[in-house]
């Protein structure tokens, strides 16, 4: 056997980060949404520790408003890889009165996830939460460190972040603090899709072209669903769409698309002139929407 392993720089970096996490922290967890970024994280974690199993559980903060396709996919993946899955529900925080459901036209459970996430961190004493956020997604995320320290209220102090030099990652924290870890910080949307294509990674069907009942609002295509508030004059129609990013149904808009294979999706993204988060309703609230949510503990 005479074979030279030539690495892919972004993949090597992500694997390096995963290995630092298990070495520097006692109770890491991977935040899993069922979206393509967290699915990519699972593949990278598999590679980092093979032939051992992924040495940490997955945590899904379920808004209760997820696409059913995502949930089915999640359960199948966990089963196949023999992973441990922890699910915590936003509904529980609403029922116990800890958070109040938003009402009105733009209501979403997206920002309510923060409370459930912070409660789960406290419940399981997680000290490192691995997430699939990328710096190219959004301008506040462009400033995020790979190891991003949060205080015991889960807050991000964006003006006082630890410098990160070379490959050296400093994960030293006090008890009660936790670190958010972003192994694919330096990947772009296209990098993720190209990787999914190259690795033949399975992803939920909603990423591919399908027929869906939708309605139009503010130039975006919203899913028709009992979870999404709809005005009487907003008419339901059927369109051929797919999703570029998958949050829950109330904060993710669809795009019209005929891309039904990964190769077609990659081709479409190369041509696209709309950014990925252009279809994220949660980011449209204000120019600093993401920064504000992150300060409060959003992932």
């Amino acid at each position: 056997m005479n074979s030279v392993f030539k690495s892919n720089a972004l993949e090597a970096e992500a694997i390096y980060i995963f290995r630092e996490v298990v070495s520097q922290f006692e109770k890491p967890v991977l935040l899993f949404s069922g979206g393509k970024d967290s699915i990519t994280l699972v593949r990278l974690a598999q590679k980092a520790f093979f032939p051992a199993k992924i040495p940490f559980p997955l945590l899904h903060v379920d808004t209760g408003h997820n696409f059913p396709e995502t949930i089915a996919f999640r359960d199948k993946l966990v089963e196949e890889l023999g992973l441990e899955l922890i699910v915590r529900n936003v509904q529980d925080a609403i029922d116990s009165g800890k958070v109040v459901e938003e009402t009105g036209k733009y209501s979403s459970r997206n920002s309510l996830q923060t409370t459930t996430l912070l409660d789960a961190i406290e419940e399981f004493k997680f000290d490192a939460c691995i997430g699939g956020a990328r710096r190219d997604e959004e301008k506040a995320r462009a400033k995020e460190r790979i190891f991003s320290v949060r205080d015991d209220f889960g807050q991000w102090d964006e003006k006082n972040q630890r410098p990160e030099l070379f490959d050296i990652l400093n994960g030293k924290i006090e008890i009660g603090q936790n670190v958010r870890v972003f192994p694919i910080s330096n990947w772009t949307e296209l990098d993720v899709w190209s990787y999914i294509e190259q690795e033949h990674i399975e992803i939920p069907s909603i990423y591919f072209s399908h027929k869906r009942k939708v309605f139009l609002r503010d130039g975006l295509i919203w899913s028709h669903s009992p979870f999404v508030y709809q005005e009487e004059d907003e008419q339901i129609e059927e369109r051929i769409v797919r999703f570029r990013t998958v949050g829950d149904m109330s904060c993710t808009a669809a795009v019209e698309s005929y891309a039904s294979t990964i190769a077609e999706v990659v081709g479409e993204i190369r041509q696209s002139t709309i950014s990925e988060r252009g279809a994220r309703i949660d980011d449209k609230r204000s120019e600093a929407a993401m920064e504000k949510r992150k300060q409060q503990g959003y992932f």
Binding site: F5, I15, A142, K159, F166, N170
Partner: protein, 414 residues
């Protein structure tokens, strides 16, 4: 795909954001909704041009004050390469941010305002690029449109910069000079018709032509062990793999190796990446290694070729860039993190503060935030290192404050 990391540093006025905006625009990396957001924001502020800095300055405080206060990461790609720009502010009070940006970059773009020429800030940027041994430096002489695209102005600045370059201790560095107008796009991606006297490459052409072998320095192979993989399953009952990222050079199955600090000798029996075995792995790969003998190897250990041992010492001479508001003073204890190894250490002495404008160094007994100085450090256990000049990955370390846990400084071993 090949990834090229670029560091930029500069102030608002020298057109850095405009250059980055141009690169994004000309490579069609700016999406319509982002351009629309920039247009909306520029209009609100009453500008009659597109303010690309609004695309790069991410924090509310930065947008309010119109400055870049942290390292921002900006991404664009061509058919050939993925580019990552680490964009940092240029003022002296952000020296630490510039050092941070340069630490992960293979190429640095130093912007000069053609009307102002080589100024103090230029010295500082170049000094940092030398200290960190950034192999490729592009000197972009910007705002050529405001000096009538004058060849003389370009030649004068180039000569001034070459005089500066003569003082550099890093002779392997490649310095290229490109006259540009970020505002009109001249020589950014396309060639500028207004400067027929310039026959070299545009900034983008230059970046596209760089091979990653041109920008990495090769050195002796170093394999810091991150974690030991022991599946303890039926199938892999006796598997014991050392996981880490390989730096400097390649390793092959059969190589005679030494494990540090124990100095135990062995041979590489297998190199794994995921579910495949390879006979050789290149520098930069995150792999898992198996050794012939069953020896004790843990996180923080380092595997090297037996005929290429690093220096093993408890006292180190270093250059430190200080990053914490609490000053560095002799006698204090810090944790040294060097690769995957952490050792408690004491600051022995601070010898001098080095001026970043090449005016030399002066005696000092402490280092304040953003100062760079010569520091000797005593470690509680021996460190296995190379001089930063010989082997970047194995010559750099950070200092962690044991009470706040923050990364208080970065050091380069001599």
């Amino acid at each position: 795909m090949e990834v090229l990391k670029i560091a930029t540093a500069g102030s608002v006025d020298d057109g850095k954001s405009t250059l980055i905006g141009r690169l994004l625009y000309d490579t069609k990396s700016l999406t319509t909704d982002k351009i629309e957001a920039i247009e909306k924001s520029s209009k609100q502020k009453g500008y009659d041009y597109l303010d690309f800095s609004l695309a790069t300055d991410g924090l509310v405080a930065e947008r309010e004050q119109g400055i870049t206060i942290d390292v921002a990461h900006i991404y664009f790609s061509t058919a050939k390469k993925s580019y990552i720009i680490a964009d940092t502010p240029g003022h002296v009070e952000y020296t630490r941010n510039m050092v941070t940006g340069a630490s992960t970059s293979q190429v640095s773009i130093i912007l000069i305002d053609a009307r102002k020429g080589v100024i103090e800030q230029t010295y500082r940027h170049f000094f940092i690029n030398n200290l960190l041994r950034v192999k490729e430096v592009i000197v972009a002489i910007n705002k050529m449109d405001l000096v009538d695209y004058s060849e003389e102005v370009y030649n004068k600045i180039k000569a001034d910069f070459e005089a500066l370059n003569a003082k550099s201790s890093f002779k392997e560095q490649n310095v290229s000079y490109i006259p540009i107008s970020a505002l009109t796009g001249g020589n950014v991606a396309q060639h500028a018709d207004e400067m027929p006297w310039y026959t070299g490459q545009s900034v983008l052409e230059h970046l596209e032509a760089l091979k990653s072998s041109d920008v990495y320095e090769s050195a002796q192979a170093r394999f810091p062990v991150q974690t030991v993989i022991r599946p303890k399953t039926q199938q892999y009952h006796d598997f014991r793999g050392y996981a880490g990222k390989l730096y400097g050079n390649s390793l092959q199955v059969g190589d005679a190796v030494t494990v540090l600090p124990s100095l135990t000798e062995s041979k590489i029996s297998k190199i794994h990446f995921f579910d495949k075995e390879y006979s050789e792995a290149n520098a930069g790969s995150s792999i898992t290694i198996e050794l012939e003998n069953d020896i004790n190897v843990t996180r923080g250990d380092m595997i090297v070729k037996s005929n290429e041992l690093p220096t093993i010492e408890k006292d180190i001479n270093t250059t430190v860039c200080w990053m914490d508001s609490k000053k560095l003073v002799p006698g204090t204890k810090y944790l040294v993190q060097h690769n995957t190894n952490r050792i408690l250490a004491k600051v022995d002495a601070i010898k001098s503060v080095i001026a970043t404008d090449y005016s030399g160094s002066k005696e000092a007994n402490q280092l304040a935030i953003n100062e760079i100085g010569e520091v000797t450090i005593k470690l509680s256990k021996p460190l296995y290192f190379d001089a930063y000049d010989k082997n970047k990955s194995n010559g750099a370390f950070i200092l962690i404050d044991t009470s706040t846990n923050t990364t208080a400084g970065v050091g380069f071993i001599k």
